[in-house]
Amino acid sequence: MNILTIQNLKIGYSSKKKTEIILDGIDITLKKGTFVCLLGKNGIGKSTLLRTISRVQPKLNGTIQIDGKNLESYTAINLSKKIGLVLTEKLPESNLTVFELIALGRQPYTNWVGTLSKIDIEKVNEAMQLTNISHLSQKKYYELSDGQLQKVLISRALAQDTNIIILDEPTAHLDVQYKMETFRLLKKLASKLNKTIIVSTHEIHLALQSANELWLMIADKIITGNPQELIENGELDRLFTSESIYFDNQKQQFILK
């Protein structure tokens, strides 16, 4: 069964005065354990799509189904057991340690004052081992480098124990080494733990190497398919409208003319 089914989805922003449509008529299905990279130029609406799928913002029209159930029919707590998020926004200032930050991912499962049970602590430790950050456990989160913090945030989503993890540009501020490590980690999580992972990114080269599936977001639609297929059909060239660059199928990257 598909873990995610999107039909005729319309996304955008609506206020009392006006409605701004970003994209209409989106149809996507996704199988469990897939690693998806969402590509598209700046401002095309990648974040809006991810925010709509994770119900951070309301859709304008159409249906989104998670595990065969309509997204709207989930209670907040039940949805938090289905989708974990890694966002781009900066964390507010606090004294949280790495352990405490990741442990907040267990909130949907803890009691009303948030006491961690043995299972919760186990899950947190597991999440830290998966991302190789166990040694940072007692550090304050603000003492970490950007790359380490990103791993912590991914661990937090893992501790939340959801089948779907959505990440919005997780490698934006990272150096090449952390970028590659992050993609390798996400790929591993999808194949080993059968997590469904949706990542928006500008790392086209890394996405082509590691993703099972690409969603190419262009002006009027989203093209989905596996990377090889999309390259062969020349779909990647449609990603950018600029005349001065083209996608080189051999080198698997964009080249300046």
Binding site: A76, N95, F99, E100, V113, L116
Partner: protein, 341 residues
């Protein structure tokens, strides 16, 4: 692996310190009374002078209890504000909430000539508490609405200051049209005072205070998730609106009732959470809320002892003491801990 520190020893030490300072507080005053007699009075035994007993039972003990309620309540309100606004400089006074409570009281005391007819009812302590809470709620809601449309933390503080100015202006207008007697009453209230509460008033104070505190228990968990920001909190299943409303109501009740009974007291709500975090190096509200309450109570008792100028007949306005000590502490915190911005 040790997940979270519980700070049991620290709590124990602070609790003993609180009891010790509470005794010290009631043993100091313009009239010096021997320790033995003080114990006797507290234990309701024979005291050699009747006057001593009444000083202790009817004046010093209520005052010391008031100090504990005021100190802990304002400090906890400050902590809640700092988490809700994600701003280390938030506090009931900075955000104009104390001014809102003052406005409520001002309308009661000064506005009675304008409204008329309610003056007999107006000065009952219960109605003061309600008026102050409503005033606090009004300003806090306004600040919160404004804060939602600006993301910048500095702007939120400035908006809070502006609301504070608006309420002060309204109070000035009210003052202009009031009688000298009403004005005097309002000014004395504005100095802030922990004393002068009867046991009956203290009972009302304690009752309303407890209602505010009970709400707190329900928001410990969502407050912790708010440490990650609203969107993460939402993705963890937290109902942001509900949490925000509970914080709003709790803070209004606490700040309102405290301001009504002891005047607008500055800097406690802002400074104590930061001082507490030096000892308790955590952001977990399950630990921080009781810790901030304890430290606030202790510091307020100390401030009260300083205000009494031991062995002298004068008592300084408590508001002057908290400002004199609070403001430098805040400046020092800002300089020392440059990660506050």
């Amino acid at each position: 692996m040790t997940p979270q520190k519980s700070y049991k020893t620290t709590f124990f030490i602070l609790l003993i310190l609180l009891v010790f300072i509470w005794f010290l507080n009631i043993s100091l005053g313009s009239v010096s009374i021997p320790f033995k007699e003080i114990f006797a009075a507290i234990l309701n035994e024979e005291v050699s002078k009747n006057a001593w007993k009444s000083i202790i039972i009817d004046y010093r003990i209520p005052k010391a209890i008031t100090a504990i309620l005021v100190g802990s309540g304002l400090s906890i309100s400050g902590l809640l504000m700092q988490t809700l606004f994600r701003n280390p400089l938030a506090g009931p006074f900075v955000l104009g909430i104390s001014s809102g409570a003052s406005l409520g009281v001002a309308i009661l005391i000064l506005g009675s000539t304008l409204i008329g007819g309610i003056s007999a009812f107006a000065f009952s302590s219960f109605s003061m508490a309600i008026a102050a809470s409503l005033g606090a709620f009004l300003v806090l809601s306004a600040v919160l609405i404004a804060a939602n449309s600006v993301r910048n933390t500095m702007s939120i503080l400035i908006i809070g200051l502006m609301f504070g100015s608006i309420t002060s202006a309204i109070i000035s207008v009210l003052a202009y049209f009031s009688s000298a007697e009403q004005l005097q009453q309002f000014i004395f209230w504005g100095f802030g005072s922990l004393g002068n509460l009867s046991w009956n008033e203290l009972a009302i104070f304690g009752f309303i205070f407890s209602i505010g505190i009970i709400f707190l228990v329900f928001i410990i968990k969502p407050l912790n998730s708010m440490l990650l920001g609203e969107n993460y909190a939402k993705s963890l299943g937290v109902n942001i609106k509900k949490t925000r409303n509970i914080v709003l109501i709790t803070t209004s009740i606490l700040t309102g009732v405290i301001t009504a009974f002891s005047g607008p007291i500055a800097f406690v709500g802002l400074a104590v959470p930061h001082l507490t975090k030096i000892v308790f190096n955590t952001s977990n509200h399950k630990i921080l809320i009781p810790a901030v309450g304890l430290v606030g109570a202790i510091l307020m008792l100390i401030a009260d002892m300083i205000a009494q100028l031991p062995t002298s007949e004068f008592t300084l306005p408590i508001n002057a003491i908290t400002s004199l000590f609070g403001a430098p502490i805040v400046i020092w915190l800002l300089i020392r801990k440059n990660k506050i911005y």
